[in-house]
């Protein structure tokens, strides 16, 4: 009898614990599956949307469009609802039939900085397939107490003997090749195979001056710890997030220009939650969502919307009011076809291997 009672007591306790566990966890009626970059993983960005809509946003981070598209190819249709992608790569997804048309009348297109709307990439055959959500510059990031800020107004300084061994290069071939092209006076949108030998030589000159070529964390760490004083390819995405701890970190848009990077949101054609996916995109593009995305803990960047609800300090850190001048001098990310892309990666590999 005693053992039966004990068994009942144990079962009741287990049931109570289970109920308590479920009661303590939020109950979500829907889930949204998002393929994202790390800035979208910030709980400060996702929680307001989840709470307002009673949904759970499941995220998977990836780096590089190739890796992102590979994840999609290995998934079942309908597994994913939204994707963050380089704005220039939206046509790659559209070609594969992955993305759905976005209703322009339900999105704040008019609020976006005109220079980053990038309709050539986001609107295909008259239909909008993506919307730019965040942008910034691959340019010169530097410590303004260690280098002469006047020198940082020219890309020629990057191969100046004066800064030998004090430079890190951001390890992504497209923007840095774009910067090398700018240093040579070439337009990043019109690069051809014939430009590659000169670009290769320019990259080699940069490498000869560099201490390291690092991905995001390594290059950011190198600049923050004083291992290097200059980051080629850096910009607000490196310096803004560290501004409070290290106000000496700064960036310039040199006279030759800078490379404009931009990321966009797209909705999957096979999404089973298109309404929710659209709501998510609307939230990200709202003034509140834009501010949260711009100041994400992973990396800061300029919000695409001119109406982002940023504080005065945040605007100052991002140099929000200087954007018209910056955008006027910025050139688009190189957008090579598959063949030129491969050749660009090959000269990048050659540069990395150069001693």
């Amino acid at each position: 009898m005693k053992s039966v009672l004990r068994k009942h007591a144990r079962a009741s306790a287990l049931a109570a614990a289970t109920v308590a566990l479920f009661a303590a966890s939020p109950v979500f009626s829907q889930e949204l599956n998002a393929l994202i970059w790390c800035d979208h993983a910030d709980p400060a960005l996702l929680q307001p949307f989840e709470e307002a809509n009673g949904v759970k946003v499941n995220v998977k981070e990836f780096e590089g469009t190739g890796a992102g598209l590979a994840i999609v190819e290995q998934s079942q249709p309908g597994d994913w609802d939204v994707m963050v992608i380089d704005t220039i790569d939206i046509p790659r997804g559209v070609e594969k039939g992955l993305f759905a048309e976005l209703p322009e009348d339900q999105l704040p297109i008019a609020d976006i900085f005109p220079e980053v709307k990038m309709d050539a990439s986001t609107v295909i055959n008259g239909k909008r397939y993506g919307i730019t959500e965040k942008f910034g510059y691959n340019t010169i990031g530097f410590n303004n107490t260690k280098v002469d800020p006047a020198d940082m107004q020219s890309l020629a300084s990057l191969s100046d003997e004066k800064y030998k061994g004090r430079i890190a290069i951001y390890d992504y071939y497209l923007p840095v090749i774009g910067m090398a092209a700018l240093a040579l006076g070439k337009e990043t949108a019109k690069l051809t195979e014939a430009d590659l030998p000169a670009i290769r030589d320019e990259l080699m000159k940069m490498k000869a001056n560099a201490k390291l070529v690092g991905e995001v964390t390594a290059s950011q760490t190198a600049l923050a710890t004083g291992e290097v004083d200059i980051l080629v390819g850096g910009g607000e995405w490196v310096t803004a997030g560290l501004a409070k701890e290290n106000p000496a970190l700064d960036f310039s848009i040199p006279k030759e220009g800078a490379v404009l990077w931009s990321q966009a949101l797209a909705m999957f054609e096979n999404s089973k939650n298109k309404d929710l996916a659209l709501k998510f995109i609307q939230y990200i593009m709202s003034p509140e969502g834009q501010a949260r995305l711009a100041t994400s803990s992973c990396y800061w960047g300029m919000p695409a919307s001119t109406k982002a609800a940023l504080s005065a300090d945040e605007k100052k850190t991002l140099r929000f009011d200087e954007q018209p001048g910056f955008l006027a001098r910025a050139q688009p990310y190189p957008s090579p076809d598959a063949d030129l892309d491969k050749k660009m990666q090959d000269i990048w590999t050659e540069m990395l291997q150069a001693q």
């Binding site: 071939y173 390291l212 690092g214 991905e215 291992e227 990395l352």
Partner: protein, 280 residues
């Protein structure tokens, strides 16, 4: 007397789960990778182009040379450091403290591999502990460039693999019967001669197993060279990852991975003489 039917089937029944596991998680993925490596990235047609690229492009070749150089250096240094360490643990540390000593030795490896690599980056940096000690003690006037070099990659690897080798060599030393040493002493051999002619040859299988594991794990490692090497040279895993990042060139990445696997297989064949689990 012939063996009964159930008796004959039992060994197969026991080995079947392992065979299935190997088939599903190694053989089939490997075959899929071979097929993928023989297709073209753009249109999926059959081609040897991906393999040809490796042999035609000096930068790709260089990555393999770099990988072999770094891995060989790491393996040799790790063995040279691990053997005396294992010897001290097995012969000098009292048996009741050996387990504790081993736990203490591997304690740093309970932290994340990535975190540990970034920690090394900070330790070896221009303003890091090592350079502060070197300049503070007056040994050097200016900080040495250690972080973001091949030396940093080697240090990061050695830190990890010394422990791995210590464990394999320690296990080998502990298995050695004291009779071998006593017999050598009875025959007039001194400690050095006993070590060189008796102990070392008998522990060679343990060294080779550890060295081979070090070689295999180091040559395929992406994290350490990526974080500590500063991309001032590319190793094969970095070259493979480069093909996937933006371009998603899985066929070329597969071809490079298979070439790396062939190199590891050659290393296995070279070492196979010593890679015996059983003691003869």
């Amino acid at each position: 007397m012939s063996e009964s039917q159930p008796g004959r089937l039992l060994p197969w029944a026991l080995v079947t789960p392992a065979l299935l596991w190997t088939l599903v998680f190694f053989v089939l993925p490997f075959l899929a990778m071979v097929v993928l490596s023989l297709t073209h990235h753009d249109d999926g047609r059959a081609t040897f182009e991906n393999y040809r690229q490796f042999f035609d492009n000096p930068s790709y070749w260089r990555a393999m040379v770099n990988s072999l150089q770094v891995t060989s250096i790491v393996t040799v240094i790790s063995v040279l450091l691990a053997y005396p360490f294992a010897w001290i643990l097995a012969e000098i540390v009292p048996p009741r403290l050996q387990r504790l000593a081993l736990v203490l030795a591997i304690l740093p490896f309970w932290t994340s591999y990535v975190v540990r690599s970034y920690s090394w980056l900070l330790v070896l940096a221009q303003n890091g502990v090592v350079n502060q000690a070197l300049t503070g003690s007056g040994l050097f006037d200016t900080p040495l460039q250690i972080a973001n070099t091949r030396a940093a990659t080697v240090i990061g690897f050695v830190h990890f693999f010394v422990m791995l080798l210590t464990l394999t060599i320690f296990a080998n030393l502990k298995q050695l019967s004291p009779s071998y040493r006593r017999a050598a002493a009875d025959l007039g051999a001194g400690p050095v001669r006993t070590f060189l002619h008796v102990i070392l040859p008998l522990t060679l299988p343990g060294i080779m197993v550890g060295a081979f594991l070090t070689f295999v794990l180091a040559i395929g490692d992406y994290i350490t060279p990526q974080i500590l090497g500063g991309n001032n040279e590319l190793l094969m895993p970095q070259l493979i990852m480069m093909q996937i990042g933006r371009r998603g060139d899985f066929p070329l990445a597969s071809a490079l991975a298979i070439i790396l696997m062939v190199v590891v297989t050659i290393a296995y064949i070279v070492c196979s003489r010593w890679l015996k689990i059983e003691r003869t």
